[in-house]
């Protein structure tokens, strides 16, 4: 198999306002290779690929395709040159079939009658050839995330691309789906294609990639082939100097048994036969029961959309409980208003920080007290104590390393990572018995993830009971004492530390297995 240069990007520069997202980045891609693009959040991986796909216009830099310079102004140009991209969020029409979604925007054989038999046959062929199993006649809305991703890949293959870019493709997949995706990618490169695989997960890169490029702060750090790299070299390249990788939680082996303190005996949160329904009465959470003890991190794994949000909302008093019992410290909290729950010592990190946790036009200080505005020390008599609020805000800003000129800065000026730090600072600043954290590290860079992990473990050691819902299975394996798996609104199994098995959890996530 011969490796020739397929594509080269040279000296790409792109900035957004004053922020330099890419400063003079170069990338060389061979045929027949899976090229890993590794880096933390904000390193510029996605930006670089969006430039290649014609979504961003760079200020400087050239693109050479098989040694010929090309101008890519739009995704249409990119596809013309054989470059396809699968984004983290799929652009699919739910009520269309797989075939209809794939052929949308391409010339059809039988346009007047919309007979798609020939197209369907081609899709079936592609699907067989690359091991991307999917029924072309299924409706998109009926498909799980893993299959929907295959549809997205087939969309690119159908358009005849020979360079395929995948942006964090494993985020919402079960371990089994990840394996099958990697097999398909291998088939693709064996047939002469090139694949760019964007990820922040080190182990995936080591498993599947032929060559690896690391980006950090919008700059190339290194490009090495698989047999040249060590895990340690990659870690150092990703995080740079100034972080102690040895002690790092993010990069530690998943077995943290020594670091995990003993779980307490006293149950803090007790959920029994919880049922939650939507407005039409369709059950979304069915007979969910679990207990979380003092000093315990209880994880919930599951593919997004299996009832996690509804579970969280019902526990927070935002969504009514249809049936069942939830109690904290032995007394029922069903039907209690959110404000009181916060006062009782439940603290919450919402998944969708912009929608559910953030006041864009208010100041950073005002954001830091949301939900606690009627509590001490923020309130004195019937007035707010602004000097106390600002004192606490300044403390939190420095403790949580929130990048802002001052506590009175309009919060909308913060970057995404800093907004998340505000959410964390607010949640962790309160004395709490029970923490409800939903994807607390989504969109965070490695340092911030590290910070969240150490904070969660620190609070656990102090006695906090934590319910951690995460789409990142590695995160759960790392931190949790027990992991429950949710599938279609039901807990299909609970594993305790010691019996953790990634593939077993994966099977439960896709509903093919239950435990107990």
């Amino acid at each position: 198999m011969k490796n020739s240069t397929m594509l080269e990007m040279k000296g790409v520069r792109k900035s957004f306002g004053t922020v330099v997202a890419l400063g003079d980045v170069s990338l060389q891609l061979n045929s027949n290779e899976i090229h890993g693009l590794l880096g933390g959040n904000g390193a510029g991986k996605t930006t670089l690929m969006n430039v290649l796909y014609g979504l961003y216009k760079p200020e400087a830099g050239d693109i050479y395709l098989r040694d010929k310079q090309v101008e890519i102004q739009s995704p249409r140009d990119a596809i013309k040159y054989g470059i396809g991209m699968v984004h983290q969020h799929f652009l699919q029409i739910d009520s269309y079939t797989v075939t209809e979604n794939i052929v949308l925007g391409t010339p059809l054989k039988n346009r007047p009658t919309l007979n798609l038999d020939q197209e369907e046959q081609r899709i079936a062929d592609l699907s067989k050839r690359f091991g991307l199993e999917v029924n072309p006649r299924s409706l998109i809305e009926e498909l799980p995330m893993g299959i929907r991703q295959r549809v997205e890949i087939l969309k690119a293959l159908y358009r005849g691309v020979d360079i395929l870019i995948l942006d964090e493709p494993t985020t919402s997949l079960t371990p089994q789906e990840v394996d099958s995706l990697f097999q398909s990618l291998r088939v693709m490169v064996e047939q002469g294609m090139s694949v760019v695989f964007i990820t922040h997960k080190l182990r995936e890169v080591l498993r599947v990639c032929d060559r690896i490029s690391v980006l950090r702060d919008g700059k190339n750090v290194l490009t090495l082939s698989r047999d040249e790299v060590s895990e340690e070299a990659l870690v150092n390249a990703m995080v740079g100097a100034g972080m102690d990788v040895e002690k790092s939680l993010v990069f530690s082996a998943t077995d943290l048994d020594q670091k995990v303190a003993h779980v307490g005996q006293k149950p803090v949160l007790h959920v029994e036969d919880l049922q939650v329904a939507n407005e039409e009465g369709t059950p979304l959470i069915k007979d969910v029961s679990f207990r979380i003890h003092e000093k315990e991190i209880f994880g919930i794994a599951g593919v997004a959309g299996n009832g996690q949000q509804e579970l969280v909302e019902s526990l927070m008093g935002i969504r009514p409980v249809a049936n069942g019992q939830v109690s904290m410290d032995g007394s029922s909290i069903v039907g209690i208003e959110t404000r009181e729950l916060l006062e009782m010592g439940i603290t919450y990190i919402p998944e969708d920080r912009l929608q559910d946790g953030f006041l864009p036009t208010a100041s950073v200080a005002q954001n830091l007290i949301l939900g606690y505005q009627r509590q001490k020390p923020y309130r004195r008599g019937s007035f707010l104590d602004w000097s106390a609020i600002f004192r606490v805000a300044r403390q939190l800003i420095s403790e949580y390393n929130i990048m802002t000129p001052s506590a009175s800065e309009v919060a909308a000026n913060l970057s995404g990572g800093n907004i998340q730090r505000v959410m964390l600072a607010r949640a962790f600043s309160q004395p709490a018995k029970f923490l409800l954290a939903h994807n607390p590290t989504r969109g965070l860079d490695i340092r911030s993830m590290e910070f969240v992990y150490s904070k969660l473990l620190e609070l656990k050691a102090q006695g906090l009971a934590t319910l951690l819902l995460s789409e990142d299975l590695d995160e759960l394996l790392l931190l949790c004492d027990r992991i429950a798996t949710i599938y279609r609104g039901q807990i299909v199994g609970v594993l305790a530390r010691g019996e953790f098995d990634k593939y077993k959890i994966g099977r439960m996530m896709s509903g093919v297995e239950t435990h107990e």
């Binding site: 208003e337 404000r339 036009t361 208010a362 100041s363 707010l384």
Partner: protein
């Protein structure tokens, strides 16, 4: 510490910085309107000096300005308080009228009471009636989610018929040529601060209320919840704020403020209910509220500026025969330029 004085996120320094686009907007709108005035064949400089300085040349002009300032300030607050919570009260006019009706009714029915009793009752009636008039759309929003813009506007139309009925049927003053009621009891009249030309103490009341509203919004947990509900209702709900109740409250509060402005018109200026006493205060109040962009500290200053323009405009019409509408054009242009400066800054 200036940082701490920023309940709504507007410190002294940022206030000064924030003033620049306003000044530019005012200058730009004067230039733009000047072109029209010149095209109509009038002396632009003379017109503008009349508009700007009438208020300050004579005691009469200044007191006229203060009398205009009171209802404008209250109407602007009636619009701004719900605006902070993200709701639009376009019913300040109806709330003013109904507040005035309430004040008049109490003032006539209890006409014999002495001032220490009657005056507070009359003012209270204005507040309660105005609040009630806003409570109807507020409740429709709370209970059924009906858009408050539509309902508050429609409540205005009902109030027009209501004032007509009260002033021509119930307490009609047969001597008046225009729909007018008989006067309220003497005990219901606001005491004068200055006898000649007469300035009633309504301005003290209005300023006190403006301060109270500012303190409420920037210094209390309730005010914080009001601001939060406007900034992001979903996040506020997730973190335990009863957002729908804040909407309800903000609209009723707005109605009460507008009702008070109606009561002050009755007790301070007219001493009776006269059809048309709402003038164009609603429109100007909305313009003031929008120029201030929900900043309660800015409202009194903007309201005073608009009052100066309004008084100057009447003088200009009397002395130079320039239509008074010209000033409305200037005011609208100020608003447009202020909004435009937002767009320019964002670029």
């Amino acid at each position: 510490m200036s940082e701490q004085a920023t309940g709504l996120g507007h410190g002294v320094a940022s206030l000064v910085k924030g003033l620049i686009p306003y000044l530019l907007a005012v200058v730009a709108s004067f230039i733009a309107a000047g072109i029209f005035i010149a095209a109509m064949g009038f002396d632009v400089l003379h017109a503008y000096s009349t508009i700007l300085f009438t208020s300050f040349k004579t005691p009469y002009g200044f007191i006229q300005t203060l009398l205009k300032f009171v209802p404008l300030l209250l109407q602007a607050l009636a619009f701004t308080v719900p605006l902070i919570a993200g709701k639009y009260n376009i019913g300040g006019e109806g709330q003013l009228i109904v507040g005035a009706i309430g004040a008049t009714a109490v003032g006539i029915m209890l006409a014999g009471l002495p001032l220490p009793l009657l005056l507070p009752l009359v003012l209270l009636a204005g507040i309660v009636f105005g609040g009630f008039w806003a409570a109807i759309p507020a409740w429709l929003l709370y209970r059924f989610g009906i858009n408050e813009i539509l309902t508050t506007v429609m409540m205005n139309f009902i109030s027009f018929s209501l004032i007509d009925y009260v002033a021509t049927e119930i307490w009609r003053d047969p001597a008046a040529g225009h729909p007018t009621t008989v006067p309220i009891g003497v005990g219901g009249e606001l005491p004068l601060l200055v006898a000649r030309p007469p300035l009633n103490s309504g301005i003290v009341l209005a300023l006190a209320v403006a301060i109270l509203v500012y303190v409420y919004a920037s210094r209390t947990p309730g005010g914080y919840e009001l601001v939060a509900s406007g900034a992001n209702p979903r996040a506020s709900r997730v973190f335990g704020i009863n957002v729908r109740r804040m909407f309800l409250l903000s609209l009723i509060l707005g109605g009460a403020l507008a009702g008070l402005s109606g009561a002050i018109e009755v007790t301070g200026v007219q001493h009776r209910l006269i059809e048309g006493l709402q003038s164009n205060f609603l429109l100007l109040g909305i313009i003031i509220g929008l120029i201030s962009r929900g900043n309660l500290l800015a409202v009194p200053f903007v309201a005073f500026f608009i009052a100066v323009l309004e008084v100057g405009a009447s003088a200009m019409q009397r002395t130079m025969m320039i239509p008074v509408e010209m000033v409305l054009i200037v005011e609208a242009l100020v608003l447009l330029f202020v909004l435009l400066s937002d767009v320019v800054r964002r670029r």
